[in-house]
């Protein structure tokens, strides 16, 4: 059956559009299945996925009662704490000022390298509690503007 040229053109553009969108959806789904987080968990480090002296980000929770403030021999203050993902731990040292929201039991992301002793030497520590950032969407915003839940110990 012969088709009128403008119908054919319309049909072709619809087909192209539908295939295009489905390929895009498929690619995005594929991508979201790959683990592309730019930070490693302590478990990944324990499994030896990270080389010594390679600059990485680690993410996890600050382990309860693991934070120590120590004065080093060169009289610099150093903070030591353990980052955990509840399966594995990693020791972290940091010698700069910690943010206010850095607390035991809270989420933390640190940038740095693992040294030969297996200790993570951080050059930047960002501590954030769960509602740290305010989404523009109202509902998120409401959740986020500081929720006075009971202070955890």
């Amino acid at each position: 059956m012969a088709m009128k040229p403008h119908r054919k053109k319309k049909l072709i553009s619809i087909i192209i559009g539908v295939t295009g969108v489905s390929i895009v959806v498929a690619l995005v789904l594929f991508a979201s299945e790959q683990s592309v987080n730019l930070f490693q968990t302590p478990t990944q480090i324990a499994n030896g996925e990270v080389k010594v002296d390679q600059v990485i980000r680690i993410g996890g929770l600050v382990k309860e009662s693991s934070v120590q403030h120590i004065e080093r021999k060169d009289s610099q203050l150093e903070t030591r704490f353990v980052v955990t993902d509840k399966k594995n731990d990693i020791q972290v040292t940091y010698n700069k000022v910690l943010p206010d929201l850095f607390r035991e039991g809270q989420g933390v992301v640190a940038l740095g390298k693992i040294n030969a002793q297996g200790v993570f030497v951080a050059s930047e520590v960002l501590a954030k509690h769960d509602e740290e950032y305010k989404a523009p969407e109202v509902l998120d915003a409401l959740e986020q503007a500081g929720h006075p839940v009971k202070r955890e110990k």
């Binding site: 989420g107 989404a135 503007a145």
Partner: protein
């Protein structure tokens, strides 16, 4: 329905309605703004972790929310202007830009100031911060493009195209920066229960969000009226209006 739509498209009709409505909206805005400020600054408690810096939220969240909403309005109005060649839609779109850019800048500044006491740094290349910064660039690009054209009609169309391209890009930007640098993973681990919000903090925030929206509408109406007058200077009703206002 369509009748109403075309009436809305008439600058004269819009001008008269905006002039009638604005005073009422302004009164509502002022009272809500005042109520929100009093509740937020004086009567709401400090947060258990952030202390009094939580009060920054009552202006920061509404500003950030408006910055996104205004961009969408700007792009939708631009699209309507392109498709139906409606004068009024372009006027709305163009009048949105500077208000949206201001809210974006305010959201960035207040966020940065909030970040200093809470994280110990003014700026982090975090997903939300970065996408908000790019949103500011998009607004500035829109305004720069619009002012670069001498011909108003071409300027309207060109900047509408840009706004639409930007609106397609915004989810992609948001997605990409989240992927590139976000700290949410650490946070989800600690999210044992869903955070709830105390009503003493919820109220000032809600009131401020509504007040900011009203502020946007009132300011937009003022801007639109100014813009309509300039663009419709050959229309007889504008001539009459100007002549009347002199007496």
């Amino acid at each position: 329905m369509w009748n109403w739509f075309f009436q809305l498209a008439s600058p004269k009709w819009f001008y008269t309605i905006a002039r009638k409505v604005t005073p009422w909206l302004s009164v509502l805005m002022y009272s809500l703004m005042l109520a929100g400020l009093v509740l937020g600054l004086i009567f709401s408690p400090a947060d258990y972790q952030q202390g009094n810096t939580v009060r920054i939220m009552y202006i920061h969240i509404p500003a950030a929310y408006m910055s996104m909403m205004i961009y969408v309005i700007m792009a939708v109005a631009g699209a309507i202007g392109l498709v139906w060649r409606m004068k009024m839609a372009h006027i709305v779109s163009v009048s949105c830009a500077s208000i949206g850019a201001m809210f974006t800048a305010l959201a960035l500044l207040t966020g940065a100031i909030w970040g200093k006491p809470t994280w110990g740094t003014y700026w982090v290349w975090d997903a939300r911060l970065t996408s908000e910064l790019i949103l500011l660039f998009l607004y500035l690009g829109f305004m720069a493009l619009h002012s670069a054209y001498d011909d108003k009609k071409a300027a309207d169309k060109a900047s509408a195209v840009l706004a639409l391209v930007g609106v397609v890009n915004i989810p992609i930007i948001h997605f990409s920066v989240e992927w590139w640098n976000t700290l949410h993973q650490g946070a989800t681990l600690s999210k044992l229960e869903k955070p709830s919000m105390d009503t003493s903090m919820l109220w000032p925030l809600l009131i401020m969000i509504v007040a900011f929206k009203l502020y946007f509408v009132v300011t937009l109406f003022h801007k639109i009226r100014g813009e309509i007058l300039l663009r419709e200077k050959q229309a007889s009703w504008v001539k009459k209006l100007v002549a009347d206002s002199k007496q």
